[in-house]
Amino acid sequence: MSAGVRLERLIASRPWTSRRRGRAADRPDPLLWTRRALPLAAAALLLLSLLVPYWQVILFAPQYPGGLRAYVYLTHVGGDAQEISTLNHYIGMPGLEAAAPLERRLAIPLFVLAATALLLSAYARPLRARWLRLLLRLPAGLLPVGVVADLTYWLWWIGHTIDPAAPIRIEPFMPVILGRGRIMQFGTIAWFSAGFFLAVAAAVLALYDFFRERRA
């Protein structure tokens, strides 16, 4: 028995029902494989995405050869965040660590909940109703959108929470989320990072069989 087949059986098994119903596991269910495997993979990707940054910005200036990099994870900001925050204070902009305090605290529990919901939708036998399963998969499906919306808000907040007493005065502005921007002597390049793409993949996998069922 190949490893792939073994994995397939394991995923398709029914831990709650097989003992009582005996032969139920042998009954063929063509959709079972995707119904189980896809949410399971989605949950894994979702949790994995917590370990890598969702968004990054690189700042270029002559005295920083190679640039300064901020890696925005859902739980913290990594890279040269401290240096960027130090520089921010000259123009009265909040430090990166000041943004999204609640979201950073709630990220792990929320994601665990979303992942648990995915698993429930896949395994809990009583949840046969399609709308209930859809409901359980929606959090994972909507997370990327939520993250982008939240990121946009906090970038707006950082760019518009300018301390008027700062040594260097600048007009409030909307930092560039994707692509090139410029602040003082810094050129910036911002883009999504691995975490966001994992979350998008997770969302697609979470919702995939609904689209398929609808097509079918």
């Binding site: 240096e83 130090t86 000259y90 040594p167």
Partner: protein, 657 residues
Amino acid sequence: MKLRSWGGLAVAAVVILTLIVLATRGTTTGQSVPRELQELIQARGLTPDQARAALQTYVPPGKYDDYLMFSSGGQSGQVLVFGLPSMRLLRVIGVFTPEPWQGYGFSKESRAVLGEGEAPEDVLTWGDTHHPAISETNGDYDGQFLFINDKANARVAVIDLRDFATKQIVRNPNAASNHGTVVSPNTDYVLEATQYAAPFPFRYAPVASYNDSFRGLATFWKFDRARGRIDRSKSFQIELPPYWQDLADFGKLESDGWVFMNSFNTERATGGTLDKQPPIEIGASARDMDYLHIINWKKAAELVAAGKARTVNGIRVLSLADAVTNGVLYFAPQPKSPHGNDVAPRGDYIVVGGKLDPNVTIYSFKMIQDAIRAKAFAGKDPYGVPILAFDRVVAAQVKVGLGPLHTMFDDKGNGYTSIFLDSAVTKWSLGEPYHRGDAAWKVVDKVSVQYNIGHLSAVTGDTIKPGGKYLVALNKWSVDQFKNIGPLFPQNLQLIDISGEKMRLLSSTPVGLAEPHLAQIIPMDRVKAWTTYPAAGTNPLTMKVDPQAIKAGQARIERRGTTVEVWMTAMRSHFTPDRIRVKKGDTVILHITNIERAKDAIHGFAIDRYNVNLSLEPGKYETVTFRATKVGTFPFYCTEFCSALHLEMVGYLEVTP
């Protein structure tokens, strides 16, 4: 038919013409750069060799040198770090002298190093650095630590090459001066040889009692690599006759376990010119031979460990008598007031520069061992040390020029000896197994240097794996080499290409801050220096986060009786707190943490009129302690230009009456 062949001819002609045009264009583009350079070379009046030397040593902006050279800083009491081949000065390291840029000797931490725990009136504020020694693993530089001696005060310092800062200074309790600092092949010991004999145990004794009460010493400082410190309690000394022991080198590979050390003034001249005695320079040069000291240091260490030593002024000493009885110490004659004393890469030969003799004398380690076994002694010195017969231990002599001093080696089995009186470097070939037959023990080349060369240094040239490529001549006189800038002339360090058969002089570098003696050259990538201290709040003495270091937002001032303690952060572009109020007579303790993490975000910290200046590199924690004796309101400010608002990085210390 006819037309077609005409057409073919036309096509061929066009093709050929195009090729010709392309070819000439190609050559013109190919030649235009050299022609421009040709004009530049002519305009600057350079010879082709000089132009080649310029290209060989030029390092463009943003590119790095290939080698680091650690040079002693002579009377400055510092170490100088150069990049090669550019010969640009990269760093000065404060060692025996307070150095304000590094805050060395101003913070509590660096004052503890500089002060060696002595009473304030005994703290020395200069040193005469001579011989840097990079730590070694298996006989090759490992780039972790640097040791350097202070000839004037018999001290040895330990520099950590992670942050290029001095961590320890040990004072020799029984010696007045020293010369030569070398490390054993695995840096278990740092050897310090005395230069001028002193009363032993160290005390007052009249010079008239020289022969009886003066002694030389070989001091083996035990180095604890894990702690990065010399361990006094595990160190020992070997008592030697009162000759002037000079340079030393550890044996390696086949001669591992032995030390070779030259000496002069075996005449034991002590001057007395007003009493019509010959001056020391005459008295000390009377004999044709002095003594190469051959020391079995592993046996000495065993004897000391077995308790065959007495503790003198806090350090264990193996007596001269015990050293002789137990076969620890032998002499071999060496001509005449010798200077250099260098072990060949395989550990098989010891090369001694004659100084007042035009030869380098090469001793064979095998022959020395055979002679010791055969007891081939030519006599004993007045202190009972057996003297091996000269012809039983000498493998060869090579006539290299007038005033040979020090020797380093290349990767092709050649020695390079500095020739003081001739102002030259002589390249000569070693014998078997490096070179055989007619090729052995021959002068290969000689190049003039400007002028009066002392030490020389080749890339890893005193290790088991010499790198060849470059050699630096450290010249004592520059005379006419640089524009006159007053009667105190700079030293002249000259870079020489030794990669070919012939040596080629590449460049001259004036050193206008002291007289470097020895230097050592290590490939750049072997030194793994920090760009910032690894964690914010690192104490440079412990290299760990200090319990008193603080994070952003924890700054505070606390008063306990007459002591005011301040926990301060430095961060572009402010100190927190920026106002400190104390009363006259208070003891003020400032714990300052540079909480920056960006490289080169360095802050200074100076208090006006209070003789305080620190260098706070990113992540560094240091302490300042002083008594507020002067009433007034004093600015304290950042002395290292840190940012656009550097001038605003300031605060006030109020000392109320």
